[in-house]
Amino acid sequence: MNIAVNPYRHVDEMHPWSDREHLLECVAVTPEAPDVMTFTFKPNKPNLWFRYQPGQFVTLEIPAEPEPVMRTYTLSSSPSRPYTVAVTVKAQADSIGTRWMFDNLKPGMALKAFGPLGDFSYARHPGKKYLFVSAGSGITPMMSMTRDMSDRAPDSDITFLNCARSPDDIIFRWELEAKAREMPHLTLGFIVEQVSRGQLWSGLKGRIDKAKIALLAPDFLERTVFCCGPAPFMATVREALEGAGFDMKNYHEEAFQPVKPEPLVVVADHADGEQPTKVKFAMSGKDGLCAPGHTVLQAARAAGVRIGAACESGLCGTCKVMKLSGEVEMDHNGGILDDEIDEGYILACCSRPKGDIEIEA
C-alpha cells in the first residue's frame, strides 16, 4: 500500500523563518534584463514561511573567494506570497558578491542570510497615494511594495516612475504593465536615456527632473514618495520636490548603490536619510561601517574582522567584546552580566551603534 506523505500545509500551520536557525535555499534563477537576475529562495527546512515588510532588505553571506563577503539586497518579492523570497540584483563591473552569485548560485545551494531588516516600506510610512521613483535596480523595493499592494489592495493609488538606460534595461517592465491592467490606479511612467535605432519607444527620454515628475504625476504634491536609486539620482529627485514645495516629511529614500569591492562594507539600505556609523576595530586596525539597524557583529563581518559568535541572539555571550568608545543600544537575552556591561563589554550580535564606536576586536 502506498502511503503518500502530503507536504502541503496552510500558512497558519507553518512557522516563520528565522535567520538565526535557517538558511535560504536557492530554488530559481531568473534573468530579468541585461546583467540583472532574480534569485528566488525557499527555507532550507519545510513548513516555514517568510515574514517581512515589502521594501525590507536581507544581508546574504556569500562564499566568495578568498573571503566570504556580506552583501545587502532589497527583497523584490512580496510578503503576500510568503513561501519564497527573492532578490533581484544587477551585476556591476567591479562587483564581487553579486558576480559570485551570477557565476555560482544555482538551485539547491543554500546561503546564510540575516534579516529581513529595514524601514523603507509603505507598511512603516503609509499614505493615501504613493509616488514610487526609482532608477535601475532601485526598482526592487518598489516592486516588492507594488506586488504586495496588488495582492492586498489592488485599488491602491500608485504612480510608478522608473528610470533606465534603455527600454531593454527596464526591470519588471512586462509584469508592471500586466499589473497596471489589474490595478485601476496604478500609473506607470518610464524614462530612458537612450533608444536604439529602430526601437519603438513612446515614453519619455532623458533624465529625471521636476518637469518630468510633474508630467507623469501631476498630483505629486499629494503623494507619499518613496525614492530609490544612485545617490545623484536621489539628490535630483529630492531637489525637484523641495523646489516644488513638497512636504519632505512625506519623502522616504533608500540609498541604492553598488557595493564597492574594498573595503567590504555592508552598504545597507538607509531609511530616512540615516547614515552608517563608523566602527573602529582597535586590534585589527580596521575601520568599518555599520548600516542603520545593523549590529556590531554584522559590521565586523563586513569589515573582514572575525568575532566569534554562535547564537547571535544575545544568549551565549560568545561575541562579547570590549567597547572602547561610543554608545550602542544592546538588546541582549541574558548573555552578559551587569558587571561586564559596567566594565564596558558588549555583545556584538545584539548591539547597534548609536553613533561612531570603537571596539577591541
Binding site: 536557525e21 554562535a310 547564537c311 544568549l315 555571550g317 560568545t318 541574558g334 548573555g335 552580566l337 558587571d339
Partner: protein, 414 residues
C-alpha cells in the same frame, strides 16, 4: 580474590591502634576503591559562598574523575553541576573560577543557564529537545559560608551536619567574609597520610616552630578525647559559651565530623609570629569577646578548619592519585578589611604557609618510607595520636560497611 574482598579482609583484620597496610597508601587500585567508596559517596567541602558572591560567579573543582562547577544562580542559589557538556562531553567551564552570564561550552557554544538548563544549541534539528540535555546536577548544600557537594545519586542526609556545625560557625559570619589569600599545594602522598598528619600534634614540636608559638600541642586540644577534663580548656569553653559562642567538643556518632573551640597558648589571639591579631577588623561583629581561640571543624574526607577572632583558615583535601593530594588553604577576613591597611598579607599567611610546607615535607617523606618493602604497620601513640586512631577508625568503618553492603547486594542478585 578480588580487590574489594582483599581490602575488606585487610580492614576487618586490622590491628587496632596501628597504621594501615602498605597498599592503602600507595596502590592505585586501592586508591580507586577509596574514590568509589568514600569520595564519590560522601559530602565534600568545596569552597566558600563568599568566593562566588554574585550571580554568575563560579569556580571549578576536580574530584577524582569528576569535573564539577559550582555556580551562584540569578536566584542567588548555589548549585553544583557536572562540568561535562551534554553534547560531546567537553568541560563547559575550563577556568578555575570566573563570572559568566551563562555557562557556555567553548567547543560548540552549547549554552546553559545558571540553573543548568540548556538554552541554546545551534542547529540540532527539529526533533532536538533542549529539555533533555541540561547539565547534570550534583547535590549541593551551603552552610554557614561553606559549600558542600555530593556526587552520589543518593546523598547521605546533610541535616545532621548542618544541625551540628551551623551553631558553631554562624557567629563568625563567614558567608559575609572575603578571601584574603588562597593557595593550593600538591603533597606527594596518599590523602590518608595528609589526614593522619593533620590529626595529631605529636609531630608539631619538632616540625612547626611557627605554629607552636600559638597553637597548643596538648592532645586534649588537638585530639578527640579528654578535652573537657582539661581545666584550661573547660575554662575557655565556659567563657566562650557565656558570650554566646558554642564551644564544647562535639563529634558526630559516625566520627565523620567534629566541632570544638580550643584556646591558643597564653595570650595568643591569632596564628601570627607575635600571636597578636593579624587583622585589625574583627572577622565578625557577632563575636563579643576577644581571645576566643580557634574554632576547629573537621569533616572527613575533605576539610579541617581554624576559625579565629580576626580571620579564618579553611583547608580542602582533594586526592589526585594514590600518591598525590592537593591541599587548598583559604584565608578569610572581614569583607571590609583592606590589605595593607587592616592587615599585612605576609603577616596573615606566614605561619600557615610555613606550616603547610612543613607538613607537605612530612607527608612526602612518610610516603617515601611506606613505599619500602620493609614497611609494616606501626603503633600509634595512645597519648598523642588519638586523633589519628579516630580517623583511621572512621575510614575503616566506612569502608567496611560499604564494601560489605556492596558485597551483600551483589550476592543477593548472584
Amino acid at each position: 580474590m578480588d580487590l574489594q574482598t582483599t581490602a575488606l579482609r585487610q580492614l576487618k583484620n586490622r590491628r587496632e591502634g596501628f597504621s594501615l597496610e602498605q597498599p592503602f597508601y600507595i596502590d592505585q587500585d586501592y586508591f580507586k576503591l577509596d574514590m568509589e567508596t568514600i569520595w564519590y559517596r560522601d559530602w565534600l567541602f568545596m569552597g566558600h559562598d563568599c568566593e562566588i558572591p554574585r550571580a554568575g560567579n563560579y569556580f571549578t573543582v576536580q574530584v577524582g574523575d569528576y569535573p564539577v562547577v559550582i555556580v551562584r544562580g540569578k536566584d542567588q542559589v548555589i548549585r553544583a553541576f557536572h562540568n561535562t557538556c551534554r553534547h560531546r562531553g567537553h568541560r563547559v567551564c575550563t577556568q578555575d573560577k570566573g563570572a559568566s552570564a551563562k555557562l557556555v561550552c567553548p567547543y560548540h557554544q552549547w549554552t546553559y543557564d545558571l540553573d543548568g538548563s540548556l538554552v541554546f544549541a545551534r542547529q540540532m534539528g527539529e526533533n532536538f529537545d533542549k529539555a533533555d540535555f541540561g547539565l547534570k546536577t550534583a547535590h549541593c548544600e551551603s552552610v554557614a559560608g561553606y559549600i558542600f557537594i555530593c556526587l552520589a545519586n543518593e546523598a547521605p542526609d546533610f541535616a545532621p551536619v548542618r544541625a551540628s556545625i551551623e551553631p558553631y560557625m554562624a557567629p563568625h559570619r563567614l558567608s559575609e567574609a572575603k578571601v584574603a589569600h588562597k593557595t593550593t599545594i600538591i603533597e606527594k602522598g596518599n590523602w590518608k597520610l595528609v589526614w593522619e598528619n593533620n590529626r595529631e600534634c605529636y609531630h608539631c614540636a619538632g616540625n612547626h616552630p611557627e605554629l607552636c608559638r600559638t597553637y597548643p600541642e596538648a592532645p586534649t586540644a588537638t585530639g578527640v578525647q579528654g578535652a573537657g577534663d582539661d581545666p584550661f580548656i573547660a575554662d575557655h569553653w565556659a567563657r566562650c559559651e557565656a558570650a554566646g559562642l558554642p564551644s564544647t567538643f562535639k563529634m558526630d556518632p559516625s566520627g565523620q565530623f567534629r566541632t570544638a573551640r580550643m584556646p591558643l597558648i597564653q595570650d595568643a589571639e591569632s596564628y601570627t609570629m607575635s600571636g597578636k591579631r593579624a587583622v585589625k577588623k574583627p572577622l565578625s561583629a557577632d563575636v563579643p569577646i576577644s581571645h576566643i581561640g580557634t574554632m576547629l571543624l573537621f569533616h572527613y574526607p575533605t576539610t579541617w578548619n581554624h576559625i579565629l577572632g580576626d580571620h579564618a583558615i579553611s583547608f580542602r583535601v582533594l586526592p589526585i592519585s594514590a600518591e598525590e593530594t592537593a591541599v587548598t588553604t583559604t584565608w578569610l577576613v572581614n569583607k571590609d578589611a583592606v590589605e595593607g591597611v587592616d592587615y599585612d598579607l605576609e603577616e596573615l599567611t606566614h605561619v600557615w604557609t610555613m606550616t603547610n610546607d612543613q607538613d607537605r615535607s612530612i607527608v612526602e617523606e612518610n610516603a617515601f618510607g611506606i613505599r619500602s618493602p620493609a614497611y609494616e604497620p606501626g603503633p600509634y601513640s595512645v597519648d598523642h595520636e588519638g586523633g589519628v586512631m579516630q580517623f583511621v577508625e572512621w575510614y575503616s568503618n566506612f569502608m567496611i560497611e560499604r564494601l560489605q553492603g556492596d558485597k551483600a547486594r551483589l550476592s543477593a542478585v548472584a
